[in-house]
């Protein structure tokens, strides 16, 4: 599925947060949205998920406008938010069933899909545990499993590794890359951690609300005349 953001601008009151951001995501590929804190990544995610109303520009999912056909577009999106969005007191399965119900799935269907996803994530034996009993890495996996329940074509992850240790961060990143290949899933992974991005990834660098670079990691480095992404990121944003 193609995803296209066209000319997105957004302001909180007088303060512009995004300025004429346009990009297109390639179907079935892993994309990294790289930007220092305050670059506008969460605002962009807010627009992509409809938590923020579009002020200028539009987003198209498989040609469907988020402005004009929000329901059709929303069916295509799975989201993992930066902050925990699981109900800690409920079990893993109850959390998944709540999400499935919100997407109109019956209990039977929800259970079948939920178990399938949990098995894939090696979490089926924890299905009846309260989320509170899970460690940070496992909670994140549950959130990803949940985001995939309604079989979206686009998976958005907003700094999903925040609060995880290095090993869990690496494992989660690897896991999502595998999903991307297995499910032909388009992934947009927002982060400010350069080590989560590979040179062969499509990289979008956002800084102060502007898209400073958009292309393959290697190509961006070549254009910028730098040795690696870390140096590019630093020279473009002054961060890293």
């Amino acid at each position: 599925m193609t995803i296209e953001a066209s000319n997105l601008s957004f302001r909180y009151g007088d303060k512009p947060v995004l300025r004429e951001v346009s990009f297109a995501l390639t179907s079935g590929r892993f994309h990294a949205l790289l930007g220092p804190n305050g670059a506008g990544k969460s605002t962009l995610f807010g627009l992509l998920t409809r938590l923020l109303a579009l002020q200028q520009g539009d987003i198209f999912m498989a040609g469907q406008s988020l402005k004009k056909q929000p329901a059709d577009a929303m069916r295509q999106i799975g989201v993992v938010f930066q902050q925990n969005a699981l109900d800690l007191d409920l079990t893993v399965r109850q959390n998944l069933q709540y999400h499935a119900a919100l997407h109109g799935l019956s209990r039977k269907e929800a259970r079948a899909r939920g178990d399938r996803e949990l098995e894939r994530f090696s979490l089926l034996d924890r299905a009846n545990d309260a989320v509170r009993q899970l460690n940070g890495g496992h909670r994140r996996r549950v959130e990803i499993a949940r985001a995939l329940l309604h079989e979206p074509s686009l998976l958005l992850l907003d700094e999903p590794t925040v609060g995880l240790d290095v090993a869990s961060r690496k494992a989660l990143n690897e896991h999502v890359r595998t999903l991307c290949k297995e499910d032909d899933l388009t992934v947009l992974w927002a982060t400010h951690l350069i080590e989560e991005v590979r040179a062969e990834d499509r990289v979008l660098i956002l800084h102060q609300g502007q898209l400073l670079a958009d292309g393959k990691g290697q190509a961006i480095c070549e254009t910028a005349g730098t040795r690696d992404l870390a140096e590019t990121f630093h020279s473009l944003t002054g961060a890293g």
Binding site: R50, L51, A53, M74, Q83, A85, L90, L102
Partner: protein, 267 residues
């Protein structure tokens, strides 16, 4: 989206609210302490001060406990709705709200279903309160328990929508203490929950008119009349009208960016 999708979504939201209720049942039980204190202690103290004459829907002289019981039912819903609405957009429920708003179903449907689910839990508490009130000789007719249900549903929707409106649009009232001082207490005290309005009219005509314009007064009267199997078209009509208005306004005007749902400070 087909009707079945809406139905599964509706059931899912209700189920989650009950699961949470069950998880936090001690908290909900402690929420009953407040109205019971009013019924047992406050009413005992005021019984001697306030004489209640025979007024509809009552057929005979009644105790003060009997008079304030419907108002306390309204109070349970009032506190729960405000607390629930605030937690929807400010703290405990943020994660669940993010997930809720990712649903492809129309937002007004999702929000009304959520308000209704919160209301159902409040109504459960009202019934437990009414059962306990039997110990204080508050004994409405048996069918009254069923007849009061529509009034309770309307009241919970009305107050839930009001809470959502306030929590979304009035940043100054983002904590419960503020809402308590500026919304809950004025609504509760300037209503017919604790005293009949004719008494208020004797004390101060302008206060009487404020009470008349307070939708909570009419919600309490709708609860009172239906609990005693009497029909009060004005109370019902005003409660229903205000409910439709507030629910439309709160759901159509809902802006996640004015809350903390996206994360960070509300804009």
């Amino acid at each position: 989206m087909k009707a079945a999708h809406y139905w599964h979504c509706f059931v899912g939201i209700q189920t989650r609210e009950w699961l949470r209720f069950w998880q936090q049942r001690t908290r909900f039980a402690s929420a009953l302490v407040r109205p019971l204190l009013w019924l047992v202690v406050f009413a005992a103290g005021f019984r001697a001060v306030l004489g209640i004459s025979i007024i509809p829907p009552y057929q005979t002289y009644i105790t003060y406990e009997t008079y304030i019981a419907p108002g306390l039912c309204g109070m349970i819903i009032l506190f729960n709705s405000m607390q629930g609405a605030l937690s929807m957009v400010y703290d405990r429920e943020l994660g669940s709200m993010r997930v809720l708003l990712m649903s492809p179903l129309p937002r007004p449907f999702l929000l009304v279903t959520k308000l209704l689910a919160m209301g159902v839990v409040s109504i459960g508490q009202v019934y437990v309160f009414l059962l306990l009130a039997l110990l204080m000789d508050v004994e409405p007719p048996l069918w009254g328990y069923l007849a009061v249900l529509p009034a309770l549903i309307l009241t919970s929707l009305m107050l839930g929508a009001l809470g959502l409106l306030i929590a979304t649009w009035i940043k100054q009232l983002e904590n419960f203490a503020g809402v308590m001082n500026f919304v809950i207490f004025p609504m509760f005290f300037m209503s017919s929950a604790l005293y009949p309005l004719w008494r208020m009219n004797e004390a101060s005509p302008w206060l009487y008119w404020i009470c008349q314009f307070n939708p909570f007064t009419h919600a309490v009267e709708a609860i009172r009349f239906s609990l005693y199997l009497e029909w009060n078209p004005m109370a019902y009509g005003i409660t229903a009208g205000v409910t439709v208005f507030l629910v439309s306004f709160a759901t159509a005007g809902f802006r996640p960016q004015r809350t903390k749902i996206l994360g960070g400070k509300p804009a």
